[in-house]
Amino acid sequence: MKKTIIPFGPQHPVLPEPLVLDLILDDEKVIDAVPTIGYIHRGLEMMVERVEYTEMGFVVERICGICSFMHGMGYAVSLESIMNVEVPERAKWLRLIWAEISRVQSHLLWLGLGADAFGFENLFMHCWRMREEVLDIFEKTTGGRIIHSVNRIGGVKRDVSDSELAAILARLQELAKAFEETARIFASDPSIAHRLGGVGVLSAADALETAAVGPMARASGIRTDTRLYGANLYDQIEFEPVVETAGDCLARAVVRMREIPQSIDIVRQAIEKMPKGEGLPLENKPRGNPVGETFTRLEQPRGEVLYYVKANGTKYLERFRARTPTFANIPAMIKLVKGCDLADVPNIILTIDPCISCTER
C-alpha cells in the first residue's frame, strides 16, 4: 500500500485556529504526524524589548483570549515574586475567584466546540449559552468580556463588592444546576460514548513520558494539579483534583465536565473565606525596576502553565517566556494520533483542548 500524506489544516472546520499536521497515512491508519506551527506566531515574547515591564502585562494577557485572565495573573505573580511585593489579601482572593470563573468559561467553551465537532450542534449552542452567563459576570466585574486587564503588578485594579459576590455565587450555582442536565446528556448518550469512548487512549506511563499536563494527564489517572501545591491561596481551599483512569477522549471530556461544578464550589469557598468589607486595600505598588529571575507555575484550564521572567534592573525585561499547557500537550497529541483512524483525528486533536495562539505566542 502506498503511503499518503494528508495535510490537516491550517483551515479546518473543527479548528477555530490554524494548526497544521501532516498526516502520513497507510490506508486509513495514521502512521505519523508532523506538526508545523507558526501561523499565529507573533513574536510576543520579544516584545519585552519595546514594551516596559509595567505595560507588558497587557501584552501577556493577549497571548490567548480564552485564558486571558490567568495569563495576566501569571505575569503579575512572576513580577511580584521578583520584586518582593506582598499582595493584599482581598486582591489575592479576587484573583482566585476570577481564575476559577475563567476555568468554568473555558471548559464550557471547549465542551461546546467538542460537541460541535462530533455532530451535536444543539449541545454546542447550549454550552455557549451558559458560557454567556459567565462572560456577563466577567463584564460586570472587570469591564471586559474576554480581555479583562484587571491584574496589576501588586494587586488588582478593581474591587467587587460583597453583595455583588453573593449575587455572582447565586448565578453560578444556578448555572451548575442547569449544567447537570447537559452533563447527563454527555454521560448517557450512546452516540457520544460511541464516538469518544475508547478512542485515543493515553496510558498513565505515556502521559508521563510525553510530559502531558492538566486534564490531559488527569484523564489518564495521574493526580497532578498545580493548585495542589498551595500557592495563590489554594492551600486554604479544599478540593480534590478530578482524576479519571480510562485515558480516552471520553475521559478527557468527563474530567472537564466534572471540573465545572468543582470550580464553582471553589468560588463558594473563596467567597466565604475572604476578608469582607468595603475599601480594603487592593494593590501594593512596586517600587523601582525588577532584578532577578523566576519561574511561576499556575494551573490554567488546559493544564500547568510556566512563566520564566528575567529582569536586569532596567525598565525592560531581559527575557519573558511562557510555556503554555498546549505546548506541553502536543507531544502527547502526536503520540495519540499515530495509529488511529483518519476519521478520529479531529476528535483526538480537539480533546487535548488545543489553544494554538498560546502555543505559538
Binding site: 508532523v34 506538526p35 508545523t36 506551527i37 507558526g38 506566531h41 513574536g43 515574547e45 520579544m46 519585552v48 524589548e49 519595546r50 505573580v77 512572576s78 511580584e80 515574586s81 521578583i82 508521563l208 513520558e209 510525553t210 510530559a211 497532578t224 498545580t226 495542589l228 501545591y229 498551595g230 500557592a231 495563590n232 492551600d235 532584578v291 532577578g292 529571575e293 523566576t294 519561574f295 511561576t296 507555575r297 499556575l298 500547568e304 510556566l306 520564566y308 528575567k310 529582569a311 536586569n312 534592573g313 532596567t314 525598565k315 525592560y316 531581559e318 527575557r319 517566556r321 510555556r323 505546548f327 506541553a328 502536543i330 507531544p331 502527547a332 505559538e360
Partner: protein, 164 residues
Amino acid sequence: MDREPFLARVEGYHKGGWRLALINAASVLTADEAEQGAVDVTWAFARDAEFEHIRERIMPGDEVPSISPSFSAAFLYENEMRELFGLNVTGINVDLQGQLYKTSQKVPFSPSAIRARLEANAAAGIASATMPVAGAPAHGAAKPAAIAPAAAPAPAASKPGAAE
C-alpha cells in the same frame, strides 16, 4: 558544556520519575567581549511540587546535545531553540528541519539579532531596551539572581543549576 555528565544528570531525572517541564533559552545580553553571543539554556523538571533545573551557558559554535533519548517530549523545545535562537541542537528524535515556525527574521531570539534590533531602535530613536555598555555596571549586577519557583510552596524545591 560537558556532554556526558549532563546527559547522565538528565537521565537521572528521567529515572526518578520527573516530568520535563520546560527547556528555555535566553540570550545573554552583556558588554563583556568574552561572553558575546552566549545563550543560557535551562532544562527544568517537575515532580509534583518539586521543581529543579539545570543551566548551561552555550557559547557560539557549541553543540547542545538533545535530551530526547531520556525525554522524548523534548523535541518541540529543541526544534524551537534551533529555529529561534540558532542553537546547534544535535540528535533530536523528531527533526522538523526548521519548519516549525517561519519567522520573518532569521533566528530572531539570538543575541546577534537582538543586538541588531536594539541598535536599530536606538538609531531611529524608538523607545526600547538598550544593550549594556562596557565600563558601566552590567545590567542587574547589583543583586545576584534569585531563582525560586513562585508557585511551589517551599523555596527549597529549587536547586540552582550546577554550571552557572
